[in-house]
């Protein structure tokens, strides 16, 4: 999805994992995905460079839809749909 679309997307759950290093954000995403319904959108806030690459791969493996990443000042917003 385009950055503009992602910026305006309706997020059902937001996870702030900016305080943790790898694998913290990935584990936070794993924990939180159980709390949303199929079709709902989650954003993961992470300042960890590795997580930016991990979450799309994790989505592919687990059957979730990776929607894209928006770069903010000093962190990333990573979007996915369950």
């Amino acid at each position: 999805m385009l950055t503009e679309e992602l910026t305006n997307i309706n997020v059902d759950k937001s996870i702030d994992a900016r305080g943790t290093s790898c694998p913290g954000p990935l584990l936070a995403a794993k924990k939180a995905i159980g709390e949303i319904q199929e079709g709902q959108v989650m954003e993961v806030l992470s300042a960890d460079e590795g997580t930016r690459r991990d979450i799309p791969k994790w989505c592919t493996k687990k059957g979730y839809e990776y929607l894209g990443t928006v770069e903010e000042a000093g962190y990333y917003k990573i979007f996915l749909r369950k």
């Binding site: 305080g19 943790t20 290093s21 790898c22 694998p23 913290g24 990935l26 584990l27 995403a29 794993k30 924990k31 991990d54 994790w58 493996k61 687990k62």
Partner: protein
């Protein structure tokens, strides 16, 4: 579909390698892998109740130990025992203490080791488990 399986022959009793093991366990937990950990020689020292939290030995780049430990603290990286515990909460992780390794460090029963440990076993179980694993690591 059955979960993928990771076996880990954990030999090291050093916090640098145990921390790396904890990171890998986190990755395995994120993917719902089944994990079997076999605690071998030096790792059994680190798993003893009286050593787990006080042991601060590092295996590599030992001249920078203080910098390494300070960085872990600054980054708020969880202690390796915490990382192992998180993985256990999130996926199926079994931790087996090698009976011989336990005895080397005067650990004769399960109660001599931290609560993360599930049982004491022999090497035959590791061989069987490693044969069935999708990933097998030695740390």
């Amino acid at each position: 579909m059955a979960n993928k399986k990771l076996t880990l022959a954990l030999f090291s009793g050093s916090v640098d390698k145990l921390t790396a093991a904890g990171v890998i366990l986190g990755g395995a937990a994120a993917e719902d892998m089944d994990v079997e950990i076999y605690v071998l020689l030096q790792a059994a020292f680190a798993f003893k109740k009286e050593n787990a939290m006080t042991n601060d030995r590092v295996a590599e780049i030992t001249d920078k130990k203080d910098e390494f430990l300070a960085s872990l603290k600054r980054l708020e990286a969880p202690h390796w025992t915490e990382a192992f515990k998180t993985a256990k909460e999130m996926t199926n992780v079994k931790i087996h203490i090698c009976g011989f390794a336990g005895k080397v460090w005067n650990g004769f029963k399960l109660d001599d080791f931290i609560d993360l440990a599930d049982d004491i076993c022999g090497i035959g179980e590791y061989m069987t488990s490693a044969e069935e694993a999708d990933i097998n690591l030695f740390i």
